[in-house]
Symmetry: C2
DNA sequence: GCCGGTTTGTTCTCGCGTTCACAAACTTCT
DNA sequence: AGAAGTTTGTGAACGCGAGAACAAACCGGC
């Protein structure tokens, strides 16, 4: 079931580690731009905002890319992580729902610079089809299947209102998309084998509000004060 | 250290549970709008996309708000969760960095409808100070401290480019903000007692790419095929 | 070639979160 | 009132992830 060929990557990387690899990648890119050729786990961990032991354990899942007594070669490690994540190749992406957030996503440079290429912007509202956003035409939602087939799109982004999200997800799945990034505040149901990650802005704020509420009404200098 | 007054909320809710409470809240609001007066843990769990046992354990941390053999009163439970999170009160919020994403956030209706009120939009670029977004003036970044003091702002949102994020965070902290939602792809360092949550769009896509890469080149029908 | 200093990779332990399974409690029907 | 049927709340087992601590490996000097 979870077996692979022994020659190919038989290792499976823990989910928590996978979520941190992009952070390491960014830190390494930053170090490389600063001209650093080599770094220790301690330095890299600081740059990534994590514990050095955790960093080493994470990296050990990819292989032994460091040198004891020396550290890691920045450029080499950067490439290895990028390859492991899969961002050395080009990922075509479609964005559905070109409202405020869709606009922002289409213009977001961080996608392009990390191997993601927005091949199409789709919206059900015909009044938007005249627009061009970030150099890409906004096209009718009904073109989804054709676009996915043409470009081999595997990743879809949903930035529609909540009530439309499930329909969009269904259409994406039947068009062959197997990974969805969902910004709509709705729970999506998809068949097995399809990955969904959700980003919910208001949930993040609510989590902050919860902790804020418990910190006390208004710490004069910020520390929790003993109650009488 | 972690002790509180026994009369006040002595319970501390696990972080994983806190992260799900807003999801339950949304599901309950949805049920209430559909006219449902009562629901079982099974129904609510389905609506929220989680396991029913997990839901019950989560809710048990808030108290015993259900009735055995019956279920939960939708409106009553909705209020209890809202109160626990703190969204029954009004939270003034400032957004710093009014680029594409800042625009989208300022216009996002999900904030207003959940007890968050955008009291100010700030940007360091003077050319933006003429604008008005979502009925709120864009003001100079240097006004931060005054605005925070005037409105009692406790929560700040950073939607600037990465290179500006740390400076903004520092300014927020010294202005008295203790909770930060960071959209900039940068690791923020803040003093103890200040909460930071980060939302990184490209990281989410990279995580999807990793899993997509491992699913195989192009599953004809979606399932993983045995390699020779 | 050997020794001291440095840094990685790994082992071990601990705590948190998830899930199962079941007793307690409530409703309804007879 | 009692029994049958539901549904909640919780005790217990299990697995994953975090962090500390240490052995293995590498570099440089003598």
């Amino acid at each position: 079931m979870t077996e692979r060929t022994p020659t190919e990557a038989a290792r499976d990387i823990p989910e928590a580690t996978v979520a941190r690899l992009p952070v390491y990648l960014r830190a390494l890119t930053s170090l490389a731009e600063a001209g650093t050729a080599t770094c220790s786990s301690e330095e890299l961990a600081t740059a990534a905002g994590v514990n050095s032991a955790k960093l080493r354990k994470d990296l050990s899942h990819l292989g032994s890319y460091g040198t004891r007594g020396v550290g890691y070669d920045v450029e080499y490690l950067r490439y290895q992580i990028a390859r492991e994540i899969g961002v050395t190749q080009d990922w075509p992406v479609v964005i559905v729902g070109i409202g405020n957030l869709g606009h922002a996503l289409a213009n977001f440079s961080g996608f392009r610079s990390r191997g993601f290429r927005v091949v199409a912007l789709l919206d059900a509202d015909p009044s938007r089809h005249a627009e061009q956003v970030a150099g890409v035409d906004v096209r009718p939602f009904s073109d989804l299947a054709a676009i996915v087939a043409e470009h081999g799109v595997a990743i879809g982004v949903i930035s529609t209102p909540a009530h439309a999200a499930q329909d969009v997800a269904d259409a994406m799945v039947s068009a062959g998309i197997r990974s969805i990034l969902n910004f709509a505040p709705a729970v999506l149901s998809v068949p097995q084998g399809v990955d969904v990650r959700k980003v919910d802005l208001s949930i993040e704020l609510q989590i902050l509000a919860y902790h804020e509420q418990r910190k006390g009404p208004a710490g004069l200098d910020g520390r929790l004060e003993a109650p009488a």
